[in-house]
Amino acid sequence: MLSVEDCVEPDMAMPGDVECPNFYEDVVNDPVTFAAATPASSGARLMSVASSVAPFGVGGVCSPDDHTDERLEADRVRALGKVEGVMLALQGNTFPAAMSNAILADGGQTELGHPIAVFGPQTGYTAPQIMMEFSQQGGGIHFRGMSFAGLPYVIIGRGVDHAFSATSSGDDMIDIRVLRLCEEGGGEATRDSTGYLYNGVCTPMLERTDEWTAETNLTTTGTPNQKVTRNILRAPDYGPVYATATVNGEPVALAIQRSSFFGEADSVKAFVLTSRREVVDPDSFFEVFNNITGTFNWLYVDSENIAYFNSGLLPIRADGIHPDLPHWGTGEFDWQQTNTGTANPDFSFDNFLPLDNHPREANPSSGYFVNWNNAQAPGFWANDGQTSYGQVYRSDMLQNRLQAFRAQDGNPLHTRASMVEAMIDAGTTDLRGEGVLPQVFDVLGDDLTDLSDFEQEVVQLMKDWVTHGPSDLGSMRRDRDGPGLDAENLVYEDHAAVAFMDAWWNHMIDAVLPQITAVEDLGAMVGGRHDAPGGGGSAFNGGYYGYVRRVLDMALGQSGAPYLQLKCADSDLPADCRAALVISLQDSIADLGPDMAQWDPTLEADEAIDHTALGLADPPNIHWQNRPTWQQVIQPTVDVLQ
């Protein structure tokens, strides 16, 4: 918990003033480092950094005349923009990648007879790029790839005869523990108590209070120095406490338990081993990447093999525990590793799900791997916040294009170029057009005579869009006739259809998912409606795509796994579903107006990719695309590492 109050330097303080503390004063009863203790601590660390590096080096050396209010304000705004840029770049960019994609084909699918991989992380657009590309040669190490500045090893890249890449995964490594509060010296527990019952013993939580001064600088709006106080409570058996509550009137604390607490940096072992050429085939790839403590999907390619491994410290939960719900932190329902009875488990990997139970595969019978942050494996549990793994996912766009290429006349084999085309076509496709609209058209049916001429025209516009692209896979947001690097002068080839799709989506959800919009109104929905294309590039990674698709399939009588409660337009009657879709169509037309040429004229400019300037270079905007921001195209042809 953080609190902030104005303060005064001690030598200036008057009675009653809050005195600014020295830069960092700790009051600690915890011998353990709190480095990874709380979500709040990272923000606090940022604050302390911001205050310690002031003033920013803007404007160079100024003469006294330069210190006008306007000048100071301009400097402040500029510095603020820079900090915001850093904050934006940091958001969601965890180690090593926020979103990412990968396609791999085995040798049987390629002209050369050797596997091809086109893959890379999607970590947003910054200038300079936060991913540093480098080559390490010497001391037995031969590796090239990317890392984040400051890390000594390549974390995604190529070795002598192979390569690997990663995407973020959605494993469930975090639980909420409910702690029964107690008073160590006896007495009645309250929500302020700092002991908790563990195996029947009242155990003290670790407490720590930090105080420091956030000095005024160019990014603060003329406020004085501030005293910042951070209080941390940590249950040694579980993790940091973030709230208190009562259960049946009894006081409890809620703690976050994450399997990788204090084990975050242990992942580096995997990169040491890859640099030392310990990865030579799929089996060694599995073993080395089982050292990664965080939840990632890893993809591997050499001249003969393609392989996939889902990494992370995956807890083995007690019998009867539902992994999505809070459960007691009393010692009775612990993960396996805390059954050792030690307060600070050593994170021996033996205590987590063993390698043999991790989702993984080498040389799949399909001949392909595709990954775009989708579910790890059929039936494998995802984390509590992940609600969009389902029938429609953005990885479909990659898979459909890889297979459509092979399905052409003569069954052509893949080349590096055909794989690159599959990637970039998927990277400029609207998932809703491909995964949902065909079923919308089916529900609407062939007989549209009850619609107005213009409504029929719009339906036809959307039907044309869905098939307007390579191999009749359309739904594209792109302009192949464009002038290249010139975001100001570009109009998508199917501009009107794209604009209509954007307008239609919310109306469609309102019309066909009233049961979900009711939950939205209560503020209780997990996950959003749509991951829209925009400046960050990555899009369609989570939304209601699968919900809409499934209720449409149910209305069509085509769903292999119908929902128990959710129905199109909350009705069992297909006619009601159709009527809801027609209403959503009409509402969208009402929004956009009768002239298609005027629909959303700033669409392309609004979703252009604008690099976040972390330095002084300011690259021109580029068009939206859904593509890795560091990307490899790999086809090893010789196996030299054994």
């Binding site: 790029q129 010497g138 790839g145 500045a149 590096r416 690097l485 002084l616 921001t629 030299v640």
Partner: protein
Amino acid sequence: MTTLARMTLIAVLGGTLALVGCSNDGSNNEGSGGSGGAGFDPFGDYGVFLSLVPPGSADVNGAMVEDPNSINQLPMYENLAFSDQFPIPGELSDDDLVPLYFKDEAFLPESGFDSVRLI
């Protein structure tokens, strides 16, 4: 941060430079680094390895002049999806990939070390 990164990069390239001489005889002494102890030439041709990072690999330099490598990969990235110079969909060939849309991800720089700069 970027200065540190660049210094690291230069240090790495410096190490590479020293190795060029070692590898010229085609042999190697790679027995101790891991399980891949069999003979191989670390700079041998064992396949196709390409990469791309937009907007580029550098920031501006100390004199606040834009580095030629700061945004030079951006057109390659953008033109794959959006340029009228791109071949008709379905007609992209492997030969088009470099240097139009990707760069060689070789262990050694293509043309010596003329881009290394002391800062």
